[in-house]
């Protein structure tokens, strides 16, 4: 029997770590990495859920998430490069000019 509850707990912990990273980190690259952690936590939760029902759907969703995360990071890194070009820093506080 696959430990469902534990699996969800671990992915929940990973997800929380990712959220904390997004909120606490000031460097854009680390923010992007924390988002990646959150997405992978969601992917893991899908795999756990799929294992619970003995369906392949969970792993299919994980593949979708993998592909989407790659697309997102490629656009994100392009923007980060251009930002670094203009601002010479990746500090989110220094980049943020509009009050938000």
């Amino acid at each position: 029997m696959f430990p469902i509850r534990e699996g969800f707990m671990i992915s929940g912990a990973l997800f929380t770590l990712g959220v904390i990273g997004v909120l606490a980190r000031r460097n854009l690259l680390f923010v992007l990495m924390s988002i990646e952690v959150m997405l992978n936590a969601a992917g893991m939760a899908f795999v756990v859920a799929g294992a619970r029902w003995r369906q392949p759907d969970g792993q299919v969703m994980f593949l979708f998430i993998l592909a989407m995360a790659a697309a997102e990071v490629s656009v994100g890194l392009a923007l980060v490069l251009e930002l670094y070009h203009q601002f010479k820093t990746l500090d989110t506080d220094a980049i943020s000019r509009m009050r938000g």
Partner: protein, 476 residues
């Protein structure tokens, strides 16, 4: 599962959108021409819009477990394609003013519209996710498109972080719901929810996370923090697109998902949605009072408008889908119009987004000023405009469900909203301080603004045909 010929016919609007994106891409490979790319994209949207009538006899049709094409989906696909046409008309003149390559904007826009169309017709978590990502990833590019200017770049990266975080929340919530029910289809989730004895420890956190994801995408309070920045930084036509197509598709999906599952009538979620609606109405309207930037004012006003929509969404009942549908149309018309005015008054260097840019506009450009005034009145919900009729039905839907506290807050906060719309109007009609004529407005943008103004007045005076159409929309 086999996909039959009828399925392909039902999918025509989506297939044509996808094909047009490829056609524009190939066109760019042959020859770079701003006008050509815009024309191909526009033609593709017109054909996609026309193909809705070819697809209509096949309805309702479940194409694989992922997509459902029903009257509801087709109505919103029609709304999205028409808005995208208006976007092209506005964007062509706007981007023509700066010299750079503009062709990719139309490819991104077509992909984003395709994402929106997938969203409104999705009946499964996987298609929801795919549609959402098609929409979002294309939008990052559109927002940061004038990449030599710092503000769009900042807005682009902020939107990326925001959208990626919201996608992660949504995905995690979906995983929990899937873990509890063993299915990702909306109708099967609905069936399981109506039976007692499901795993509450998975479903409630899952639903909460899904709502958080939706809240970020719809910029509802308290998830609205960066929205004004994105609206301010993005090029004006793209701001119009984000505010209408992206939010409209998302809201149509929200309505379908929660109507099918009935999840929002579960006691804890009902409270959560009510709190979000109230917070959005107050935060949007009160924070808008503090702004000097027209784009930011409109951003906060759109937060408030989504709060109003939630009132009808909460009401449930028969009146609710009609009120939401009509209000979305009115919101699309006026928001496209308002940001369209900002777009046509901008020059290549920066957007005309300060309140000072509009001081004395009436004495320089009486017609543009009159159109802008009409749009603002409609946003404020003043009679004769479509915004008034829309708000009337929202109140009616809320009242018929007995949601008096929400309805009272809707009316009170709309009253607060009047102040900041009137601030812009007063600026428009005040004495001119500068005698700058501003840029010339091209023919496509003029056509777009005439269309939007005509729709605003016509639907304000004769709402019946559209209401009858929306009343006939059914979930398949």
């Amino acid at each position: 599962m086999n996909v039959t010929e009828q399925d392909f016919i039902a999918l025509l609007p989506l297939l044509i959108l996808a094909a047009t994106a490829i056609a524009v891409m190939l066109g760019v490979a042959v020859r770079r021409s701003h006008a050509l790319s815009a024309s191909i994209a526009f033609a593709g949207l017109v054909i996609s819009f026309g193909s809705i009538w070819i697809a209509a006899p096949e309805l309702p049709r479940q194409v694989t477990p992922l997509l459902i094409l029903d009257r509801y989906a087709l109505f919103y696909i029609a709304l999205l394609t028409v808005s995208s046409m208006v976007f092209i008309l506005l964007a062509h003149g706007y981007f023509e003013k700066s010299d750079d390559d503009h062709d990719e904007m139309y490819i991104l826009m077509l992909v984003a519209t395709l994402g929106g169309a997938v969203l409104v017709s999705s009946s499964h978590f996987a298609s929801l996710f795919l549609g959402l990502e098609l929409l979002s990833v294309a939008l990052y590019g559109m927002i940061a498109y004038p990449r030599r200017r710092p503000l769009p770049l900042e807005a682009g990266i902020k939107y990326l972080v925001l959208a990626a975080v919201s996608a992660a929340f949504l995905l995690f919530g979906m995983a929990l719901v899937y873990g509890a029910f063993g299915t990702m289809r909306f109708d099967e989730i609905a069936a399981q929810l109506s039976r007692p004895g499901f795993d509450r420890w998975l479903v409630l956190p899952g639903m909460a996370l899904i709502i958080t994801g939706f809240g970020f995408k719809l910029a509802l309070a308290p998830f609205h923090i960066w929205t004004p920045d994105v609206y301010e930084g993005a090029p004006a036509p793209v701001t119009a697109y984000v505010a209408t197509v992206s939010k409209g598709a998302m809201f149509a999906l929200l309505l379908r998902y929660f109507y099918k599952t009935g999840g929002h009538q579960q006691a804890p979620l009902f409270v959560v949605f009510s709190v979000i609606a109230i917070a959005s109405m107050f935060a949007g309207n009160i924070l808008a009072l503090l702004q000097d930037n027209v784009k930011r004012i409109l951003a906060y006003s759109s937060i408030a408008h989504l709060g109003y929509l939630l009132v009808a969404f909460q009401a449930s009942g028969d009146l609710a889908p009609m009120a939401v549908g009509f209000y979305l149309v009115s919101y699309f018309v006026t928001t496209l119009g308002a940001f369209g005015i900002v777009a046509v008054l901008s020059d290549g260097g920066r957007d005309a987004d300060l309140l000072d840019d509009y001081r004395g506009l009436f004495w320089r450009r009486p017609v543009v000023a009159a159109v802008f005034t009409a749009m603002l009145f409609s946003l404020a919900g003043i009679p004769v405009t479509v915004g008034f009729v829309g708000k009337f039905y929202l109140v009616a839907a809320g009242a018929s469900a007995g949601l008096w506290s929400l309805v009272v807050i809707l009316v009170v906060t709309s009253g607060i909203g009047l102040f900041y719309y009137l601030r812009i109007v007063v600026a428009i009609y005040s004495e001119a301080s500068q005698a700058k004529a501003g840029p010339v407005i091209g023919a496509p943008a003029v056509a777009a603004l005439i269309f939007l103004t005509a729709a605003l007045v016509y639907l304000g005076l004769f709402p019946q045909p559209l209401l009858a159409l929306i009343r006939g929309l059914t979930f398949g």
